[in-house]
Amino acid sequence: MDFDFSDDQEQLRDAVRKWVDKGYDFDRRRAIVAAGGFDRAAYGEMADLGLTGLYVSEEHGGMGMGPTEAMVTMEELGRGIVLEPLTQTLICSATLQTHAPAALQAAWLPRMAAGEAIVVLAQQERGARYQLNRCAALASESGGAWTVSGTKSVVAVGDQADAFVVPATVNGQIALFLVERNASGVSTQAYGTQDGSRAAEVVMKQAQAQLITLNGLAALEEAVDIGIACTCAEAVGVMDKTLAITVDYMNTRKQFGVNIASFQALRHRVADMKMQLELGRSMSYYASLKLHAPADERRRALARAKYQLGVSMRFIGQQAVQLHGGIAVTDEYIASHYFKKLTQLDMTFGDTLHQLGEVSARMQETAGVFA
């Protein structure tokens, strides 16, 4: 039982933080939002830091790191509310590495690690909400070649990605496929999302696909759990910075002749925000450290974590705005963007009520970190 970070992990954190502070400031971010919410150059800089290959084995040109390094990285990206979707890269590189045939791995992982190819998860469907076991997209095989048909919604950088990891149904079972964006039959419609990032609808009509695994539901649950762990870590970074911004403001803003930080009712609110931050941080650790647990235990833990982070994000986001007052509802001021990011993260990979359902359904007689 040890929650210290290794020296290597601390160095990774420093490197990412330095890039975020110096290379991804609020002005650059604003420009990226205005330009559509995704910047391939910024993504390339993350690749130069090795982040895109974080989960990729050294054999395939990556760093061969694990969930703790991913957590450290996502926290720092969260601190800068970075728009480029490293979570997607981590999900898809892990999924390919764990479940795809060797040839598919060799074709994609080195390019993903280098930041040359972007692969994202395209799992969401209109009829499924947050349920992973509902999948209307269909796959079929003919002469050893697969095609996929269906529509996936709110796919991160869907019009910029090079390929998608796509769940589709085969004989009533969900399988996972890789579909290239340039494949015939694939079309996308892109748009901005709440937090200023980019997403798209992806329509596939008998699009050429490569099979990753027929045991798709288990792989998809694993993929989404990796996404949840990344999202939890990212949320911790966003919340940590949100609280810091709020504290700075309260120690500067004067009303009735004194800093608003001197009002006890507001001070107690800050104490409650600190509580939610530390509970959230604790559960983010828990999420990452349970990623390699057996599937049942992993699912239970990740649902608990995302539930806690959902509660924490809602409270910290809403209270940060409230404690600031009017300034925090302006686009000009940075706090509103942190708030919107927290809002969107809650609705990513299952919101608080959804996760509560998962926790409730998976309760056992005992409880606790090790149960």
Partner: protein
Amino acid sequence: MDLAFTPDELAFRDEIRTWVKANLPSDISQKVHAAMRLTREDMQRWAKILGKKGWLGWGWPTQFGGPGWTAVQKHLFEEECALAGAPRVVPFGPVMVAPVIMAFGNAEQQQRFLPGIASGEVWWSQGYSEPGSGSDLASLKTRAERVGDKYIVNGQKTWTTLGQYGEWIFCLVRTSTEGKPQTGISFLLIDMKSPGITVRPIKLLDGECEVNEVWFDNVEVPAENLVGEENKGWNYAKHLLAHERTNIADVNRAKRELERLKRIAKAEGVYDDMRFRDEIAKLEVDIVALEMLVLRVLSAEKSGKNSLDIAGLLKIKGSEIQQRYTELMMQAAGPFALPFIFEAMDAGWQGNFPGGVVANAPLAANYFNMRKTTIYGGSNEVQRNIVAQTVLG
């Protein structure tokens, strides 16, 4: 004790209902029911329709051309308008400045300003808040210096709602720095076309420009535009706040929006999900309780007995409810509330809305926008201070 309205009140309501149904343009009500974007023209069109009927100043006494309605009648009027999907009347003219002019303005000011307000012809804005004066309004710094028969105004106002459309603005300005901060404030009416006024819209987190900064750079204001006495403006503003009693709760809109929430929940398939449905049920109880609170205030006003000093409670609960229904609407759509497309909030947009139905387009924006409700109009923290004062002394 009786929950039912009197036959007279019910007849009154029917009259309003019939008239609103016949006169509210359906293109406007459709936008309101779908929470789509309203244009200046939409808002003013409805204001002028009301003005023509003599109901834009629905709270006005007959001596100033108002209908002279009772508190209950005003409430019923507001309810019928809200449920029918009428836009909220921009309050700065008919609800905010007019009562001050009636109570403290001179006859000349009344004749000059009230008709344009009553008809909906003149768009008024409010100039209270300043960058350094939010909850602590009395610390405002915008100066008005008397020079001959004019005031020279210098300073900055902010959070001026819809100020980009404003033709006139009523301002609290500092005319003296002596004594307590409250005592040196005056109430001034300013033509927004005056040289030296600059209006800059502020983009908010929902992408809309609902509020503005307004700068005053040596703006000349005729002294005849001073309402009442110099340095007494704080009292007039407080009088004005007393006119915001039950309407501040906005319970009628909440009822309409609860219905919309239920429609959205059904469309998104979560109305029969017990967890989500319970959240709606809790909100429903909140709204009924708030409505009862409003009705109690109205009853107390009607009879003059058992007066209730609970404006702070109405503001707190009303604003929390507004935030909650917008939050639940967004959560109902969940991932399909993530797309954020500015144009999709224009009624009639023909784009292909991603991931869901066009009705989802305003959900996130509405949620973001409503964060203001616990901040403005006296933040909920200030309201709690006030409520605590009435209870604890």
